[in-house]
């Protein structure tokens, strides 16, 4: 009773805070938890116990739920953002890692690492609609801005697969460098960026021609080449600036979206992995797996302004209105 009062009180308090306050959910791969962070005070407000090996994490389009892939439990758990408790699970295939949703938030596509498949899920009915056979170890997932093409990257096949979202057939395959991890379209659909963890590059793909038109490479003085392993990508809505997490290089590269030139490297925590912007794009938060924290980057100033301790081995992050 007393707890409920406190909770209600907290909710009222949250509602009363300025509009700039967002809430970030961080999946902690080893801790089997999700850390909730208030982006106004930059403090941890809750730690939610989830299933085993939480990785891919994303808000539902309506903001009511946060979905987190718990790979070792072979499912995706659904967290109610009001109560911040797990309320449901989704029928993903075995070992789900990353997933993406269509613009309407009706269909979800899940990469199942163990099965060489992408699973299609009806989010309203919470039912599995089917599977698409892709390359070995599917990982990165994204949808083109017009919703017509689903991209899946496969880590051992080293390809970005172009999948027609209507027919669910593969319509194109683009070879990229080793272990493609993450894929992201420019908001205008003109470019698809794919990071290759082991190859150490980000491929720029022309989505119409379906070929690699450029490659971003990284060079950090004093750091051996093999330690530079690009994973997460974040791009501003205007497509002008991109941020690329470089894994064990412990840095985020700031890249000019038009020229694809690296502008600078921001030192963050150890083994920087994935990232997300606050909806107003003022801040970018990146997960640092080995140092168990999240770095906050001021997007305009291109500076790291804060570090927040989270759970064990933070992996993914998603930010939205509370």
């Amino acid at each position: 009773m007393w707890r409920r009062c406190l909770l209600t009180g907290m909710l009222v308090w949250l509602a009363a805070t300025p509009a700039s306050a967002f809430v970030a959910y961080v999946s902690n791969e080893k801790g089997n938890t999700v850390t909730v962070i208030d982006t106004d005070s930059w403090t941890v407000t809750k730690t939610i116990k989830v299933g085993q090996r939480p990785r891919g994490i994303e808000f539902s389009r309506d903001g009511k739920f946060v979905m987190v892939a718990v790979g070792d439990d072979d499912t995706i758990q659904v967290i109610d953002t009001k109560t911040q408790e797990i309320v449901d699970t989704l029928p993903s295939g075995p070992d789900p890692e990353l997933f993406t949703q269509d613009a309407a938030g009706k269909t979800m596509y899940v990469a199942n690492e163990n099965d060489n498949t992408v699973t299609v899920i009806d989010l309203e009915k919470r039912a599995r609609l089917g599977d698409i056979q892709v390359g070995v170890e599917p990982e990165g997932m994204t949808i083109s801005p017009d919703g017509k093409i689903l991209i899946n990257t496969s880590e051992t096949t080293n390809m970005a697969h172009f999948i027609d979202t209507t027919t669910r057939q593969i319509v194109g395959n683009v070879l990229v460098d080793s272990r493609p991890r993450f894929a992201q379209f420019k908001r205008d659909g003109s470019e698809l960026w794919v990071s290759s963890e082991i190859g150490g590059t980000v491929s720029i793909i022309d989505p119409v021609k379906r070929e690699v038109t450029g490659k971003i490479t990284f060079e950090i003085p004093g750091l051996r080449n093999e330690a530079i392993q690009p994973v997460g990508i974040g791009m501003t809505k205007d497509g002008k600036t991109a941020f690329i997490a470089l894994g064990p290089a412990n840095r985020v590269a700031v890249v000019d979206g038009a020229t694809h030139k690296v502008l600078k490297y921001l030192l963050v925590g150890q083994r920087v992995w994935h990232m997300d912007f606050t909806p107003d794009e003022k801040y970018l938060m990146v997960t640092n797996g080995v140092s168990n924290d999240v770095s906050v980057i001021d997007v305009a100033a291109q500076k790291v302004i804060k570090t927040i301790q989270v759970g064990e081995l933070p992996w993914g992050i998603t930010i939205a209105q509370p």
């Binding site: 496969s154 880590e155 096949t157 080293n158 390809m159 395959n173 080793s178 082991i198 051996r224 093999e226």
Partner: protein
């Protein structure tokens, strides 16, 4: 000649692109040796398909990728007995395969390499760890996927030094390969600043590895064998012949850890390795083969994947192009070791991190932090370019 003709036809098909329905077929041979070595531990007894099972998984992986590129991979498996003429068997195998993965002892491998030299067949050595194959006896048509003894010894040496276990009691078996491993361990001690406080030899006097009352005897034998040693931190055993090393842990006179051929073992792969996405290949392997993945399986998987990788990168069934890419500076392969693996251009040895495993867990992965190198930290393991005796021909 005939094979060459097929190659030409396949090429012209790729060129016209008209017959997309017929995939380009890449034939890979696997040349292993019959007979399984007997191990002290029943758990470590290799399966009949040790090695080949890894190549089979890589063929599946290559084919999953190949279906998007209209390429198909086929594996042709042959095992030779000691009495067989290995050069002849290999020549027959080379008649219908452009690449051959080998799991052969050093001398047999050299015979095969020399027999196939003029045909241009490339061998991928998955089994032999002898340094001489990459040094004075190196061959231009042999790519080495297996790590060398010196790479394994250096990987262990770096960890022991990092751990500040710098005083080693070295116990060596009486067989040739044991002595070679001991040489590599001595070299590692010198390179990384460890001290071998004493050396002992464990004579192989013959006898069965398994007896019904074995433990009682061993329990008395091992403490006696290791007593009156000068102060040491770790016992390092060189026993590739599987005669005594696995009897040492928990039985030494002084309570000391064991490393080398038992205890903490340097290896290219371990069934417990789960970092860097390795769980995925471990799962795939168990699903396909109904057993766990060994180092030889991984070395064979990597060899077959290297061909798959080069074939997809060149988008070509032409072995000349594929081999040129494999030996070129753009080649690298991902193999669940947290970094890309590349070839040392001076002797065609695959650079790779080495796991240190205790039979249940992966304890560490070398190169260790702080062992620096101007080109690649992976070159802190094994014989480096300035020291090489290899002249590739």
């Amino acid at each position: 000649m005939f094979r060459w003709l097929i190659g030409t036809i396949a090429l012209s098909m790729v060129a016209t692109g008209a017959l997309a329905a017929d995939p380009v077929v890449i034939h890979i041979g696997y040349l292993g040796h019959a007979g399984i070595k007997s191990t002290l531990s029943l758990v470590e007894q290799p399966a009949d398909n040790d090695g080949i099972a890894g190549a089979r998984l890589a063929i599946e992986d290559n084919n999953t990728t190949g279906k998007f590129l209209n390429q198909r991979f086929a594996l042709d498996e042959v095992k030779v007995k000691d009495s067989d003429d290995v050069a002849k068997v290999a020549t027959d195998l080379a008649g219908h395969n452009d690449y051959i993965i080998t799991d052969l002892p050093a001398d047999a491998l050299l015979r095969v390499a020399d027999a196939l030299r003029d045909r241009g067949t490339v061998l991928l050595n998955a089994g032999a760890i002898d340094d001489r194959l990459r040094e004075q006896d190196c061959r231009g048509n042999v790519i080495h996927v297996a790590p060398t003894r010196s790479m394994l010894a250096d990987a262990l040496g770096q960890y022991l030094v990092w751990k500040q276990w710098k005083r080693w009691l070295l116990v060596t078996g009486s067989h040739d390969q044991d002595k070679l491993y001991a040489d590599a361990l001595r070299r590692a001690a010198t390179r990384f600043g460890a001290k071998i406080v004493q050396e002992r030899t464990f004579e192989d006097t013959g006898g069965a590895r398994r007896t019904d009352s074995g433990v009682t005897l061993i329990q008395r034998q091992m403490p006696v064998f290791t007593q009156q040693a000068p102060a040491y931190d770790v016992l390092v055993a060189a026993d590739e012949s599987e005669v005594f090393a696995n009897y040492l842990p928990y039985r030494t006179w002084d309570p000391r850890p064991v490393a080398g051929s038992a205890g903490l073992v340097p290896t290219s792969w371990d069934a417990a390795h789960d970092q860097w996405g390795a769980v995925q290949i471990q799962n795939r392997f168990v699903k396909l083969n109904m057993r766990r993945m060994t180092a030889l399986d991984m070395q064979s998987w990597t060899a077959a994947r290297m061909i798959g990788e080069a074939t997809s990168r060149t988008n070509s069934g032409d072995p000349k192009k594929v081999i040129a890419f494999l030996k070129g500076k753009d080649f690298s392969i991902a193999a669940f070791k947290g970094t890309r693996l590349t070839l040392r251009d001076w002797n065609l040895q695959l650079r790779q991190p080495i796991l240190l495993a205790d039979g249940r867990m992966v304890v560490s992965v070398s190169p260790q932090e702080g062992f620096l190198h101007q080109v690649s930290e992976l070159d802190t393991l094994g014989v480096d370019r300035p020291e090489t005796k290899c002249k590739l021909q």
